[in-house]
Symmetry: C2
Subunit: 328 residues, 2 copies
């Protein structure tokens, strides 16, 4: 296992220390927790709390800051944070206007965030929750009932963060989220699996000439293992799946995310983005915004995912609103 780490059991704590060291002008860690919270919280602004297992960096701590998340809660690698930890995140984030929990759809996350919501409500904090299930690759999965939450979650962070900053109420932010989530769909491909430090070997094995469509960000099985395809062929497959899922119609507007899964060079992400562009040229839809980079990773997994969001109302404006976080 070639990793720049110390004790595998300490990776999350040491990562959080390094993250705070590098960004101490903007964020702090709630003592004795795995909660990263922004320093410049605004009284009366709806707070957004997200998180989940570690290993998806820059998600979620890299998105903590003005215009995006108020706090991020990190569990151990690929493991949900406990309800107590999420509760600490809620308490640190709340500025009197209530807290929205943005949860990726994994059974452990949903259960623990929901329990934290109840605990916080018992302490008098108003809490709403939103479960993101954007991965169209498979129905149900190793750790999930229904569809998994993956890179599209970042779009929820960005747009709802902008909405909260604009002064929307908790009810309004939650309603916007409820409208937004069904309009976000993602699908990915992996060339290699991730290696969890405490496990020491990849979550599954792909031969030198193999890749797999639809792998999850915790190495959950995808829908088709095949010989290595070109970027153009991969774009054809992934755009095709999204096209079928959305049923592209005339004059629809979309936003687009190409997400590197951790070990994929930016060069390849841009080559893939170009192939996606070529595929989409044949479609009647208009792409309003695009973003390329490592946003929701899976440790050292080599691969990419593609996310589309079907836009309504002023969602593109929310996307372009200014943001001050570490990794945008």
């Amino acid at each position: 296992m070639k990793k720049i780490i110390n004790q595998p059991s300490q990776v999350v704590d040491e990562m959080l220390k390094g993250f705070v060291y590098a960004n101490d002008e903007r964020v702090e860690r709630v003592p004795e927790t795995s909660v990263i919270v922004r320093k410049d919280k605004k009284k009366g602004e709806v707070a957004l709390v997200s998180g989940g297992g570690s290993g998806h960096e820059p998600a979620h701590a890299g998105f903590v800051g003005d215009g995006m998340l108020t706090a991020a809660v990190s569990g151990e690698v690929f493991t949900s944070p406990s309800p107590d930890q999420v509760l600490e995140g809620i308490k640190a984030a709340d500025q009197g206007a209530g807290v929205l929990l943005i949860i990726k759809n994994y059974t452990g996350d949903v259960m623990n965030f929901e329990m934290a919501k109840e605990l916080a409500e018992a302490e008098g904090i108003e809490v709403e929750q939103l479960v993101v299930d954007d991965d169209i690759a498979v129905e149900d999965s190793t750790h999930t009932a229904g569809r998994r939450g993956v890179a599209g979650t970042v779009i929820v962070h960005k747009m709802l963060g902008a909405a909260a900053k604009r002064g929307l109420s908790l009810k309004e932010v939650k309603e916007l989220g409820d409208k937004l989530v069904p309009n976000i769909k993602s699908i990915g491909v992996a060339m290699t699996a991730a290696t969890v430090p405490e496990v020491g070997k990849p979550g599954f094995t792909l031969e030198e000439n193999e890749m797999e469509y639809g792998v999850g960000i915790h190495s959950e099985p995808g829908y088709h293992r095949t010989s290595i395809k070109s970027s153009s062929e991969i774009a054809t497959e992934l755009v095709g799946k999204l096209k079928d899922a959305f049923e592209f119609g005339d004059n629809e507007h979309y936003g687009l995310l190409v997400n590197g899964l951790g070990a994929t060079p930016l060069m390849e992400q841009y080559i893939f983005a170009h192939d996606v562009e070529k595929q989409l040229e044949h479609e009647p839809i208009k792409i309003e915004f695009k973003k390329v980079g490592n946003l929701m990773t899976s440790l050292d997994m080599n691969g990419v995912s593609l996310t589309l969001v079907k836009l309504q109302d002023d969602w593109a404006d929310l996307w372009y609103d200014p943001v001050h976080v570490t990794d945008w």
Copy 2:
């Protein structure tokens, strides 16, 4: 070779197309060249042009924009752009106040950028140049007389970009650069070598339990191959080398960069940053700013580099000046 590409010979052209697609509100490509130039150029502002071989993304096109580079010129993978291409970059960038070329110290880059400077001067454009040689790992190297230019180059882009935006003249920006460059020093470690698409196999081979200190960003040999060390041990080695090179003195102020080499998860970069912090606690110096991330990569190389810049005057302010580029 597990890469998301099409024809290996087309990777640079397709990457640039994908980059412009994703960032067309901010940048454009000069037709029939490998030059990326910002759209919002300011008349009368000194222009900064950098570049070199491709494979170091986000360097250099990811740093094109307000407050940083005016244009970036990309050669083939790990290959200098031709003088003609650099000339196109100079012509596209110049806003009447002259152009500063920021060159990483590789023989091919220095030669081709210098030739372009002469060609541009013959066309009446005022051009200065600055060669960055921050890598203290080795003297002379495979493609270099003297020290190699690596991740510290990004500090030059940032600070001189801020200086140009503040309205300094070409002479003043060049003088600032001459003062800045000798105060920037870097050193890295590689767990794996990069694979150039047209070559199809890694530039060198490290066994499963091996790593190498001081490897260059084109897989040039380092100074010591050893068994895999912990992050803490790597930090001890790299900070020790930088300490010796700078001869740390009381009350000196520094900026710090932890740079991922392409395939290194952000988690590991932050763990390493924490170990660097612990090493530096024993030193009399003060760290004014820190940044962690993939800034000057080497395709899919797994490893990190550490850069320190010894600060003078208002250099920390230049670091914090606002910037609008794709990858900061």
